[in-house]
Amino acid sequence: MRTRYRLLVVLGAVLLCGCVSSIDQVTKTDQSAVQMRSYQERAFDTADKEQTLRSVIATLQDLGFVLDKADLDLGMVTGTKLSGYELRVTVTVRPRGDTQMLVRINAGYEEKAVKDLKFYQDFFTALEKAMFLTAHEVD
């Protein structure tokens, strides 16, 4: 009887939580790459990578982040915001043709990737102000 009871508990938990091994988390995504990029990525009409990265850094500081890493050659910045919670973002900046820079941000909140559209929109709204440029959607 005891075994059956345990079995049921485990079975129930697996059914309801989904059968995911914790190692699968390494390559797990909830959405297609195209779908994710559509809200994580915007293009700006500038060819200046350094200035774009400096604007990204200033924006993150305005939003209450402390930086973790920055690299001009790779065009990336990582920062963490602590405000009763822990929010970590990575922003990459790379050229798109000769006239645009492509800015992409991804975020992790506690133990999950952030999928909230407003979250990303808010970031680009703040970045637009720092860049004095409009963020274009990328098809």
Binding site: L7, L16, C17, E50, V66, L82, S83, K112, D122
Partner: protein, 203 residues
């Protein structure tokens, strides 16, 4: 037919675990305004920013590293080309004033409850004490702009942001916060001016 009680027990437990999973998973989205500029952001920016004249960006970064070393920070990351320094230190978070006030609070509660429930009432008297903290700081410099909007070589703008994580005596994370106390930044910049002075003398 025999209704096995354990089966029901199992089903209920499984359902509860499942609900728990859903609940935890459902709550893991950042607060609505996490990426919005707060009304305080301008004030904070002023608090955390200074303009430094008569120094180039590299020398200012070097002076900043000097201050961080004076304050016992370890440098975690630097990117000179973007004017970025990241540093951290682990320190004690024991605050004697805090311990005394929370002990007094517990005593007062015990006393009040004793009056209500009789003389023998005593809570377990557990006081959680903040013991360790990790302080993280990022320093970002950029050239100040001249009247025509061009970056200047001999004037910089520097912005410092500080945050900390605090753990209690059981190793539980109790605070994760940005430091917004003006005094902290004022002290930091006072130290920085001295370090800049030394840096400029060395050149």
């Amino acid at each position: 037919m025999r209704a096995p009680r354990a089966t029901w027990h199992g089903l209920i437990s499984a359902a509860l675990i499942g609900l728990g999973c859903l609940f935890v998973a459902g709550c893991q989205t950042p607060p609505e305004n996490a990426m919005e500029l707060s009304p305080d952001s301008l004030k904070l920016r002023q608090l955390q920013t200074r303009r430094v004249e008569g120094i180039d960006e590299k020398a200012l970064l070097a002076a900043s590293v000097g201050v961080l070393q004076d304050l016992g920070f370890n440098i975690d990351e630097t990117e000179t080309q973007l004017g970025v320094i990241v540093a951290s230190k682990k320190r004690s978070a024991i605050d004697t004033a805090d311990i005394i006030s929370s002990s007094l609070e517990t005593l007062a509660i015990d006393l009040a409850l004793s009056l209500v429930f009789g003389d023998h009432y005593s809570s377990d008297g557990e006081i959680s004490i903040d013991v360790t903290q990790k302080i993280r700081i990022s320093i970002v410099t950029r050239p100040a702009l001249d009247s025509s909007g061009q970056p200047r070589k001999d004037a910089q703008v520097i912005r410092v942001t500080i945050q900390r994580l605090v753990w209690d005596d059981e190793g539980t994370l109790v605070h994760a916060e940005s430091i917004e106390d003006p005094k902290v930044y004022q002290k930091f910049f006072d130290r920085l001016s001295k370090s800049i002075f030394l840096e400029l003398q060395a050149i």
